[in-house]
Symmetry: C2
Subunit: 294 residues, 2 copies
Amino acid sequence: DGETILKGLQSIFQEQGMTKSVHTWQDHGYLATYINKNGLPPIVRGGAIDRYWPTADGRLVEYDIDKVVYDEDSPYQNIKILLSKQFGNIIILSGDVNLVESDLAYTRAIMGSGKEDYSGKDVLILGGGDGGILCEIVKLKPKMVTMVEIDQMVIDGCKKYMKTCGDVLDNLKGDCYQVLIEDCIPVLKRYAKERREFDYVINDLTAVPISTSLEEDSTWEFLRLILDLSIKVLKQDGKYFTQGNCVNLTEALSLYEEQLGCLYCPVEFSKEIVCVPSYLELWVFYTVWKKAKP
Amino acid sequence: DGETILKGLQSIFQEQGMTKSVHTWQDHGYLATYINKNGLPPIVRGGAIDRYWPTADGRLVEYDIDKVVYDEDSPYQNIKILLSKQFGNIIILSGDVNLVESDLAYTRAIMGSGKEDYSGKDVLILGGGDGGILCEIVKLKPKMVTMVEIDQMVIDGCKKYMKTCGDVLDNLKGDCYQVLIEDCIPVLKRYAKERREFDYVINDLTAVPISTSLEEDSTWEFLRLILDLSIKVLKQDGKYFTQGNCVNLTEALSLYEEQLGCLYCPVEFSKEIVCVPSYLELWVFYTVWKKAKP
């Protein structure tokens, strides 16, 4: 059988200084790849599992994915949860690597890198269906956290397969939090009308935003709408956190920063470059706040 | 010209939701790649610059390399210094991604992750030609650091192109350090014979070790020889630091740990999993020390 053949070949390949990697698939055996140090590993086309998930700046990278844990289409997007050997379960929304369960770096960065005091605060999370941010903030004794996630199926998948959320998604309501399954735009508009204000607004929407309404005819207009509404529901000394993009997409980052100059009120911002291990590229995170009144 | 054509095409590709990445080469123009979100970026074969450097566990990854800064063969190895857009200059020894100048994570980890006190200590560095470790330890007021690097050309290349070394490689001797351009095996044997002892021995040799002598007929025997000699020149309460390998090569890591049980004296060890951003995979680092005498 395969195992015996593999053992016989092993010493020959080792002699030639080749590196071995073995991938096991449930029920249909395994694949041993020997890679010559000076050559390129072959691309596996049409495999049962897609291991190639390009970076945001368009580079080809192969993930150590061994298993498809969850793969469903919701009304809004394709939701995949795949098992990476080194990172654990990894959630991919419409082809975009979102979060890995072993990886606190993203959650930490989008919460302000440990420099904020969330105790007794009012917090609004836009998106965040994997539950990572909600789970971490709830530990910090906030007054109230409201999370607005459009896609119930992301919550269902993460509740079952992503360690990031702890037990926080088991119920949509807790002592100090609530999860609304809604499009965040009408929710933000409602809050703005009611003059509700938050200490922190955390925008954890997917990098390419999704929405049910048709009033946004371009990605930038959509982003600016979210930004404007978010700043509207922010206290004068509140902070807005969001991911930007990979550090190499300098043009996109500049465009984003330009938008920050076009909001209904003047804002200031800072940015931080963070290594989120599973992203395989450095990522930029933004903090935005209202400019102090003169 | 290219720029005009590019601008004309831009809107068409954007409409289709494609991601753009532009690579510029000095003197011979640029390449704009449009990537369909659901497709794979094409592999560039025979390009002037090789952007593909497989991970230790044999996965195909493409680096954001724009420029060859240095490319020379020394008597021991091929030395390449390449410019990564996000990471800065990156040194690759015989195909093995060694260190990136922006990346303190590797140096920090192999120095004991900030938990050690180097002031007034005797330190031995094996390899380390990029100067990263030496530069960091010298800042911590050690008594004496001896670095043994086999390859003068690595030092020459890094001195010129890698920020990691500061000015520490400008001279091979300083107030509290010396650099020996030698094979570390005979040096270790000499020190062992002289009963010299160090507080810290840091093994920063390349993952696949190189040596001038022929007495090591396999990688494992070579590794065990280095380990045995290093432990011999270590004080009873001294520590030995080294990199292991990527976290996915569990078999290789187990074999390494087996070797630790076959040394001339009993040792104990701990390991830590660290994200070195430029490696694009998680890496294991070891701390080894002599077992306390009963």
